[in-house]
Amino acid sequence: MLKTLSLFTLVVALSFSLAEAKPGGSRLSASAESLEDIDEGFQELLDSVVRLDVWETTFDKGAKRTRHGVGSGVIMTDEGHILTNAHVVNPYAERIMVTLNNLERVDAELVGWDHWTDLAVVKLDAGELSRKGLGFTHAAFGDSEDLIPGQTVYAVGTPNGLSRTVTRGIISNTERYFEGSRVGRGYETGNFNTWLQTDAAINPGNSGGPLVLPNGKVIGINTRGYLGAENLGFAVPADIAREVLAGLLKDESITRSYLGLRLGPLQDLENFYELDSNIGVLVQSVDPGSPAEEAGMRPGDILLSIDGQEVDGRFPEQLPAIQNLIASQSVGSTVDLRVKRGFQTMQLPLVTEKLESRIGQETAFEAWGLGVQKISRSTAREGNLENADGVVVVGVQPAFPAYEAGIRRGDIITKVNRQSLTSLETLESIYSAYEAEPEKVLMEVNRNHQVVFIVVKP
């Protein structure tokens, strides 16, 4: 068990950002199966799988830089909406180029993304399509809930830059659990879903591509694999992807609720807490300043039900569904939690807040050689900061003013010229004044809770 757990840390998101592998060699001929064995739907599916080339802006060197990555996607609507991974495309994308199955290239734009489920939607440029006289087909979802281990599945995508690769395997597990982790620039992911595990070969670049049944129905979006392991791939189930796609098409983002509870499996604690079996989930931790803390919830409490709906968190794989139940409450609404503490059972009403990422907006101030990210509420909480005012330094460029003045990655700039940085705009306006007329700037920095004053000189 221990060994397996430690392996979990090796699970990585599968975006592929090396130079494109050179296409080479001759086309391999004739599969073992005859053409009649291949479902018509499968052929259509192949036509709707695309390669995504994404150029995105990064700020981690203290300057704006462009990074190129390659991933996969699948067209899901007749308007040309492509479902892919959030770690393939994010709001910092400068250009998204789609290569259709017929090798034609079309630009696309981000519609919306949801790093919590690692999904994103981009839309093909309709104008360019009609100018070039291009058409496409789209795929359809299957029901991931009906899957059983052992069923044959195919993964389609662009592993290591090899476009239009099809690999075959089976469903190895239908509800693999991973603890919430981080993806891309540190965005939280994986808290609200379990994963389909498959032994179909999945490699970096398969990210965002579909996991499909022999009939071509999409039952998952290939998202993760173990580096260094063989045949251990993981896909976001279609039932989750279907909801997220609909939500992103409607609102361009997914709004979720937050209570501030970190849940843990009850496992064999039922006896200790004298619970009926299969009811309740352990409250492992309560976020300071969260609705749960304000309502008086405490670590060690057992959450029994949410608005009368009983929860069962005996095993880790049951946690994402409970977390999703909390997240799907409407923001600002009151939910009634039934909670057991010791031998006492109580009813606590909580008002939900909007769930926010710990990763704030990023930018770079190039004349200072300084890349920053706005501090989020949860970073402030995790780091035990007084408030969320300020920006965290994500990169400094050597020999530029910020670096020369001694600012380093990880520093938190709380004030500039004695102004509190309540928003990124405050800093942006100070910076534009500096750009217009370079002058010394006094920065107040929090470095591991030590106060450091720094003067940035032109």
């Binding site: 970190r262 843990g264 604690l269 200790f272 352990l282 492992q284 931790s285 309560v286 670590p299 060690g300 010791g342 909480r381 995790e382 780091g383 035990n384 003045a405 001694g406 010394k440 006094l442 107040e444 809770h449 030590q450 106060v451 450091v452 004053f453 720094i454 003067v455 000189k457």
Partner: protein, 466 residues
């Protein structure tokens, strides 16, 4: 590795030979005789540190400071975060001789310098106090020589080293640097006449650039195995050997109640209108501390202490040490005046120093072998690390976990702050001790449920007892 040591030793011998071959106008002082005499002021202290289940042997070179056989050791010679009763079987022996040595007693650590003091229980008459040799007047460029000491397999063989005085820097004590290593840590440096020039400091690191075959350059530091080019200048050394603690745990220390002092750089000082002086910024104020009561605030910039501007020091951070030392030189109950800049205003704040709350070595500890769990009282340092800036937090932290023990299986980790045991909130060390004592005697108990805080998050952990 013996072969490597041999090589190094050979090189040292060769270096000495060179020194003798250099033509000298005046008659060469008799270093052989001076060396043998002054070796009587240098000793080796051996002991072991008894932890929960492990022992760690320690040996260090020290200087004999008086007729009663007291010895001074440098701060890094012993792990100062452990309680002194963990230092066992202390013995003192002359360098270079294969002897058992004589038993000795730990006298404590001076809070100002961090230096440790030990006293031999017998045989002091065989040694010569360092004060016997007189004090050198230090001048840049002068010739200095010293006694260095090998490691245990060489029976701590002493050998001669020499160099010239390159510089003296206030960091914040007067530290002398020689052109080449002239002694080893805790041993002595002398001038041409054999007067004491200083006392060997920590091993110095030589800064080098490693140039790879492809031209890539990597800055690296080369650390000697046992020699040092740094020494505490004799005037300061003679002052500091007076500071023998009255008890092994150390003397009560004056306390201001600030945390995370940071230096102000030249640019920032100029920005604040300060010329030719140092300044320190206060990061945190401990609740209910003397600083708090007097109204000192986080982010105040201290520019003067008792009317004296803080000095400039290099590197910048030395000014914070200077400030700490100046505070530590005061007596508990003394009132000091800090001049601080807050916003755009300068103001004086008078603070009456109190007694320092418990430090790590003073924390109460207990070890439960059955659980493989060592616990320790929660002290101010733990509070500062967890942003609980007060003394009265109470409670316990995990100090030690025995590998493959019940505590280890439950995934407890050193540093975990135990907040609840079986649903009972833990407010003091005594309370936790009582509960764990009870667990040890209760054979019917199947498990222990702990609520711990780790990295600002809480976890519920179960220790299976059966």
């Amino acid at each position: 590795m013996p072969s490597k040591s041999l090589f190094t030793f050979g090189q040292v011998a060769a270096a000495c030979l060179f020194a003798f071959l250099t033509p000298q106008a005046a008659a060469e002082p008799d270093y052989e005789a001076m060396f043998d005499e002054r070796l009587k002021s240098v000793v080796v202290v051996e002991l072991f540190v008894q932890r929960q289940i492990d022992r760690e042997p320690v040996s260090a070179t020290g200087a004999v400071i008086d007729e009663e056989g007291r010895i001074i050791l440098i701060d890094s010679a012993l792990p100062s975060w452990f309680p002194p009763e963990w230092f066992k079987d202390i013995r003192v022996r002359p360098p270079g001789e294969d002897v058992e040595g004589v038993p000795a007693t730990y006298l404590g650590q001076d809070f100002l310098t961090g230096f440790h003091f030990v006293q031999m229980d017998e045989g002091a008459e065989n040694y010569t106090p360092v004060t016997h040799w007189g004090q050198a007047e230090l001048k840049r460029g002068q010739f200095l020589w010293g006694i260095a000491v090998m490691d245990k397999q060489w029976h701590f063989a002493p050998y001669y080293l020499s160099g010239r005085l390159a510089a003296i820097e206030k960091i914040p004590w007067d530290i002398g640097f020689t052109t080449t290593p002239a002694t080893s840590p805790g041993s002595l440096v002398f001038d041409e006449q054999g007067r004491v020039a200083g006392w060997g400091g920590r091993i110095t690191i030589e800064e080098k650039i490693l140039v790879a075959e492809d031209g890539r350059q990597l800055p690296i530091g080369l650390k000697d195995t046992r020699d040092t080019a740094a020494f505490l200048a004799v005037d300061t050394f003679m002052e500091q050997i007076q500071r023998i603690p009255t008890e092994p745990i150390g003397d009560p220390r004056p306390y201001l109640g600030t945390s995370g002092l940071q230096p102000v750089t030249r640019e920032v000082a100029q920005f604040l209108g300060l010329e030719n002086q140092g300044a320190v910024v206060v990061s945190d104020i401990i609740e209910a501390s003397p600083a708090d009561k007097a109204g000192l605030k986080s982010k105040d910039i201290i520019v003067k202490l008792d009317g004296e501007p803080l000095p400039k020091r290099r590197p910048d951070f030395i000014v914070t040490r200077h400030f700490d030392n100046e505070i530590s030189r005061h007596a508990i109950g003394d009132t000091i005046t800090l001049t601080v800049i807050r916003g755009d205003e300068e103001q004086d704040i008078s603070i009456t120093l109190d007694k320092q709350p418990k430090v790590l070595k003073e924390a109460l500890r207990a070890y439960y072998d059955e659980l493989g769990l060592g616990i320790r009282e929660f002290i101010l340092l733990d509070g500062v690390a967890r942003r609980e800036l007060r003394v009265d937090v109470g409670g316990v932290v995990v100090d030690f976990i025995k590998p493959n023990s019940k505590a280890n299986t439950a995934k407890l980790e050193p540093g975990d702050w135990i907040k609840e045991i079986d649903g009972t909130k833990i407010n003091s060390f005594a309370q936790a001790e009582q509960i764990f004592d009870g667990v040890a005697s209760d054979t019917g108990k199947a498990e222990l449920v702990l609520l711990v805080e780790r990295n600002n998050e809480t976890k519920v952990l179960r220790v299976k007892l059966k």
